[in-house]
Amino acid sequence: MTLLDHLPIAPVVIPAMTAPLAMMLMRRHARAATALSLGGCVAMLVAACTLFGVAQDGAIRSYALGAWPAPFGIVLVLDRLAAMMLVLAALLATVVLGHALVTGADRRGWHFHPLFHFQLMGLNGAFLTGDLFNLFVFFEVLLIASYGLMLHGQGALRMKAGVAYVVVNIVGSALFLIALGLLYGLTATLNMADLAVRIAALGTADQGLLRVAGLLLMTVFALKAAVVPLHLWLPRTYAATMPVVAALFAIMTKVGVYAMIRTVPLIFGAQAGAAAWVPAPYLLPAAILGAVVGFVGVLAARGLREQAAFAVLASTGTLLMAVASWRAATLAAALYYMVQAVLAGAALFLVADVTMRRRGQYADALVPSPRFAGQDAAGLLYLAAAIGAVGLPPLAGFVGKLLILDASYATPGWPAVWTTILVTTLIGVIGFSRSGSTLFWKTSAADADPIACPARAHAEFIAPALLLAALAALTGAAGWMTEQTRATAAQVMMPVTYVTAVLGAAR
């Protein structure tokens, strides 16, 4: 094996080494730890991009950890979907980390850097693993790291919200284990490809249990993805945490979506009997509700962070509407939308961060304040982020929505999908325009002195601007990107390839 063959492990190993090293360095050599952290992030980005390049040939690569063949050991599976998610996560992480360093958010509590990298390790592991129990484990890694990051900093509100976030997710993990247990009890395997094969062979007597397992598993993923009505935890959690952390969390709900996209076509595809396309009857209505609840929340929010949180909900709803029909075409659109939604959501949070640092006591409350330093620049960024989140040209959200409209045409329930997308976009436009004009146009006292704030580096604007630039780039490169998502969706919807790649042609 060449070193390149081992590369699939890099996205897990790099943060797994960066985190403890940063932890050791933190106390005595804070600067070195910071540099290491950033370096680790960049290294991960490089690894992710390389893997993305590797996955371009359309082959699915299986990496057998411990040299134990699938399905007996744990395998990492590098396909287009995994590669795409890795790049997205690494990209987001690098920008967010940069922002945290520039704003000093990493020094507002303990262990930001180790927790940050452990979070990435969890994400990357979840994207790469080909084993259902291992997916659980990496879910736990990313969750517990997210607890730590979510609580980073101080405050009673954050703690209370943290308790709810943690408890809900622990219950979710319990459900995950029950679902996993059922699947193992039925099939005696944990490897996803093997599960696909064995589930297809289950007899009639087992169909009920199989369906329960599938539905419970989907419930867990839906909880992580904050699918209505399992979304209730999200707004408070994301609004209560530090915006820079919330920006990283923009990808967390999408992990739930990822897990659905990974498991449903593969394990619960057409061959799965009673569990065929298991979330199908419920996902579309839930997604529609999610988009509505999300954009209504954008309109109803009382603070920027809360608004951004609802925008994240809304984007999940929107993209799940496309996912729900389980076709390659809609899935491709959904993937494009997902990528841009992650960046747009993160951008919103970072803009919220920049804004609230400059508004003093007014923080991110959606009430007029006296003028503040950098108001115009922040306003412009907010405008752009809002455009991205709501899906107007020239940013990628618009393209994403067009893609979803186009692809979902004539799928079951498409009029509802279309109506929802269009109406919720309008609600979002109204919401963002109201809050934007309140924050950046209206002043509580026009002639009052601007809010005094210590000289802020313009560098604070860089990270959100970069994310927005990425959104613009996604628009410009929409052709290339949709080609990627199309190929990815096609690969996902052809589980045979996956199964063969993991288990070998013999099966």
């Binding site: 609580l151 209370k160 622990i170 219950v171 319990a174 247990g181």
Partner: protein, 117 residues
């Protein structure tokens, strides 16, 4: 009365107790609930390997009947993770109480909660 029935009903009792406590209003009750729930889940995960008495999965050449080792490994992993989560939850509840003066999960203060000067 079979072992299977005992285990299944124990799972039922633990889950019910866990759910009930998790739905209560104070952090400590919720922690208790989560603990019961995790017992139940561990037992469940264990039970899916089917129940086998006195055949621990210790390899020996001529042994054929043995408990399924894999669910045991899974439960071990689950126990460890649960422990980490429980520890964090307990301490988070405490910190939350210290910050807000209330141990209610939903943020309401008790009438007699003392406020620090």
């Amino acid at each position: 009365m079979s072992l299977e029935f005992l285990v299944a009903s124990a799972i039922a009792v633990l889950v019910a107790g866990g759910i009930y406590l998790a739905l209560r209003g104070r952090t400590f009750q919720v922690v208790l609930g989560l603990t019961l729930l995790s017992y139940a889940v561990n037992l469940f995960l264990f039970a899916i390997g089917r129940l086998i008495v006195d055949r621990p999965p210790l390899y020996a050449k001529d042994v054929t009947a043995h408990a399924d080792p894999l669910p045991q490994a899974l439960v071990l992993t689950a126990i460890v993770i649960t422990f980490g989560m429980t520890a964090l939850t307990v301490i988070l509840s405490l910190r939350s109480f210290l910050e807000s003066g209330s141990d209610q999960v939903d943020g309401l203060a008790d009438p007699d909660a003392e406020e620090p000067a």
